[in-house]
């Protein structure tokens, strides 16, 4: 298989669904190998980090802390709500989620738009030029993409469908002993 595992971008932001998928399949170690071999660091928005490490939880806690300690996952700084592009992006994401889930917009919270807010914050602060977003939340991603292209960041973000990515990593590393 010659296809690129990781898109060639400067930053890689992941949503909770990606990490949970690896955890469920018990293949977080394969993710670690893929990430470290390709010299990539996965960025976790603050709130996603909190979602992955709740105070009380009936199941095993995903090994996020270990990944952070090992250096291949980093928690991002809080989202900068005061930046108008950041807040416009989050509003747009909420619009998309509202329509897709058929829920009134006021019930869609900022938490739902956090990944988009994190991407917009990095771009607006000049910390990166290009971002891949690993999620399976397609409406949210479409909102991020559209808002950012309306605010001077055309072609700065690209989607990596989380579950397809999990499959590629597992296929490539599973049988390498």
């Amino acid at each position: 298989m010659s296809a690129q595992l990781f898109p060639s971008v400067e930053s890689h932001i992941i949503d909770a669904n990606l990490f949970i998928r690896f955890e469920r399949h018990d293949t977080v170690d394969l993710l670690e190998r893929a990430v470290t071999e390709h010299d990539v660091v996965l960025l976790l928005p603050t709130r996603v980090y909190e979602e992955l490490t709740p105070d009380s939880y009936p199941y095993g806690i995903p090994p996020v802390e270990a990944a952070i300690d090992a250096g291949w996952v980093q928690v991002l700084e809080e989202v900068d709500y005061s930046n108008p592009v950041v807040s416009a992006t989050m509003d747009m994401v909420r619009q998309y989620i509202s329509v897709a889930t058929d829920r009134p917009e006021h019930t869609i919270e900022q938490a739902d738009a956090e990944v988009g807010g994190a991407a917009a914050t990095l771009l607006e602060h000049g910390q990166t030029e290009s971002i891949a977003i690993y999620t399976n939340d397609i409406p949210a991603f479409r909102g991020i993409e559209r808002a950012l292209s309306q605010h001077g960041h055309e072609d700065s973000v690209q989607l990596v469908k989380a579950f397809n990515f999990v499959e590629s990593v597992e296929t490539r590393y599973q049988f390498q002993g």
Binding site: A16, R24, E51, L52, P54, P58, Q95, V99, D102, A140
Partner: protein, 195 residues
């Protein structure tokens, strides 16, 4: 194709039949296995199960009697097909759907720790509700954060059960449409923004 026996029986009979399967994991597993295989015989069914052929035979007989399986051949060895259960139960203002997917998810309980824990914590009704969220999730019309808020559970728990159930749904409901129409979504958002 033969009509399902369940669709012709009285709703109360269907309900009793279904509750039998809900309460007996062995029956749920058997029903699931019939769904999986193409009109299996008792012998074929017994191959993948821990029960003895005699037990499987008795269980099949029971499931036929209550209308959840139907015999599709006249001659020996008989082959069986699972009836497509489709019930909606309304109670205390809440609506629950009982579908083959629910029975499959229940049958997974023994081998799937996440599903087992979810049923322990939220009951069969909680699982039925989660399946409805998961169906929307499989169609990209739901996310774990919204389910978590509406069901008052952690996002981690919501995302975990949604992923577990999504895999079951894609298997048990192969006709489900999983590709989101982005143009349609764009247009609906534009309409909303113009208001």
């Amino acid at each position: 194709m033969a009509e399902s026996a369940v669709s012709h029986s009285h709703p109360l009979d269907t309900m009793l039949a279904v509750s039998d399967v809900i309460q007996n994991n062995r029956l749920a597993q058997l029903y699931t296995r019939v769904l999986d295989l193409d009109a299996p015989t008792v012998e074929e069914l017994a191959e993948g199960l821990e029960s003895s052929t005699t037990t499987v035979y008795d269980d099949v007989k029971h499931l036929v009697e209550i209308g959840l399986l139907e015999r599709v051949t006249e001659t020996q060895p008989h082959r069986y097909r699972a009836s497509r259960v489709d019930m909606t139960i309304q109670a205390d203002g809440e609506t629950f759907q009982i579908t083959p997917t629910l029975l499959v998810a229940l049958a997974e309980r023994q081998s799937n720790e996440n599903i087992n824990l979810y049923i322990d914590r939220h009951g069969v009704s909680g699982l039925a509700t989660a399946i409805e969220y998961a169906r929307a999730y499989a169609q990209s019309k739901m996310n774990a954060r919204i389910m978590a808020r509406e069901q008052e559970i952690p996002v981690l728990e919501a995302e975990t059960i949604l992923q577990e159930l999504q895999e079951i749904i894609l298997d048990a409901e192969p006709d489900i449409s999983t590709s989101l129409d982005i143009d349609e979504l764009d247009a609906a958002v534009d309409d909303r923004l113009d208001e």
